[in-house]
Symmetry: none
Subunit: 227 residues, 2 copies
DNA sequence: AATGAGTGTAAAGATTATGTAAACTTTCTC
DNA sequence: GAGAAAGTTTACATAATCTTTACACTCATT
């Protein structure tokens, strides 16, 4: 029912990376791996995963600090912290680092999978239907209606609208959109594709597309969805 | 207008029982509670609730086992499992115990209510026949009629149709179909088998297969059955 | 007023997903 | 084991969607 979730695993032990990748893919996730904070950062520059699994001890950075950085830059991405048995500090167990969950090495794969599932589920409301000013977005049915009338959206348009709807009131940069929706897919930096899809979307959901009510342009920065 | 739904809550923590009862009644449900499997059993002997909320750890029985028993005796009663944070096993998250949903303690009341709602809405009694717009699907007899005329479906076609019927209005991805109907059986990721069966199904149940009325294509995502 | 950066917009071209028939393979039935 | 039924793959057509391109417009800045 759901789309394949993309997970980023950051750990410096190549064996763990290998095992995790194999298992995650077995359970229907897409796995991206990095063996250092530097590499992870490069990946995060390009795409936003649905969940991050982060080892507490990396060669080039402190896990807690990294976790905080991730949380700052990619607001809502859930993080599961991997820790060695003897380094469980209060900070980690109390989840004060901002991590959403933690798991102690050595761990059972099933246990990790279970936590991943729970974590991903927690971040998404069950009743995924949202109504703003006559615009109803039903994630489950993949359907959008405006004042009761059905609005036909293409996949990209729907993704865009969902992204805006789940970040209401916040300004979304084109860069963020690119990371979220296109991810690692090729899209030249000078491409106007995002703008074009946005126009199409406006034409479909705005009463008067040249004076948009839902998706507002924030000059020089990006767009935002009305509060 | 629906009748008041009756829920059975089974948990050995009196505080949780109290809170749940209060909240459920606040949201218009009738709550029956039991603090042990023995008492729950006595209640179940007497009445069949519309939904059961079951704690994973009870003094007199294993939650998973109990869940299985419930499912055997009162087939179609949906069960929501309550689990402690550190006892989420893969069995529960994978819902392999037969539970229809699960929620991790401590939980938000709203979250639980939402899941109850979703669960009740989703549960279509399998032993009953379902009729939508002239299309009658008799799950038990494995028979489908369209405006009274018998429709001959192959096993795969029937499975497909059932899957759609029991998830009305929701988008079903090909991936989900593959998991549900083919399971671990081999089916290459690039296979068009699902599409082909779907076309056959459409040719049999749709008035005009090129403008389907029942099974609607959701571009880029999958298909959905009409509401 | 000219410049240039950022954005709006239409239309053309490129690409991809889906529809569909038909060939081929497997499984079932007798 | 032959024939029939069901399932799967293949191949291609077509429709849907995405991306690029080109140009217009706005609005600071010089």
């Amino acid at each position: 029912m759901d789309k394949k979730k993309k997970l980023l695993v950051i750990d410096d032990d190549p064996d763990i990376l290998k095992v995790l990748r194999a298992n995650l893919e077995l359970y229907g996730y897409t796995a991206v791996t990095a063996d250092s904070w530097t590499k992870a950062r490069a990946i995060l520059d390009d795409q936003v995963p649905d969940l991050i699994i982060l080892d507490l001890t990396l060669p080039d950075g402190d896990g807690l600090e990294i976790c905080r950085l991730i949380k700052e830059e990619n607001h809502r991405v859930p993080v599961i912290m991997l820790t060695a048995r003897d380094s469980i500090s209060d900070k980690v167990t109390g989840l004060e680092s901002g991590a959403d969950d933690y798991i102690v090495k050595p761990f059972e794969t099933l246990e990790l999978i279970a936590r991943i599932k729970a974590c991903l589920r927690r971040s998404v409301p069950v009743d995924k239907a949202l109504t703003i000013n006559g615009l109803e977005i039903d994630m489950k049915a993949h359907q959008v209606t405006l004042n009761g009338k059905n609005v036909e959206l293409t996949p990209k348009e729907f993704e865009l609208l969902s992204l805006f709807a789940s970040n209401r009131g916040e300004v979304i940069t084109r860069e963020f959109i690119r990371k979220k929706i296109w991810g690692d897919a090729k899209l030249y930096s000078w491409s106007r594709a995002i703008d074009v899809h946005l126009q199409h979307l406006r034409q479909k959901i705005e009463e008067n597309p040249s004076e948009p009510e839902f998706i507002i342009t924030v000059a020089g920065v990006g767009y935002k969805f009305r509060e």
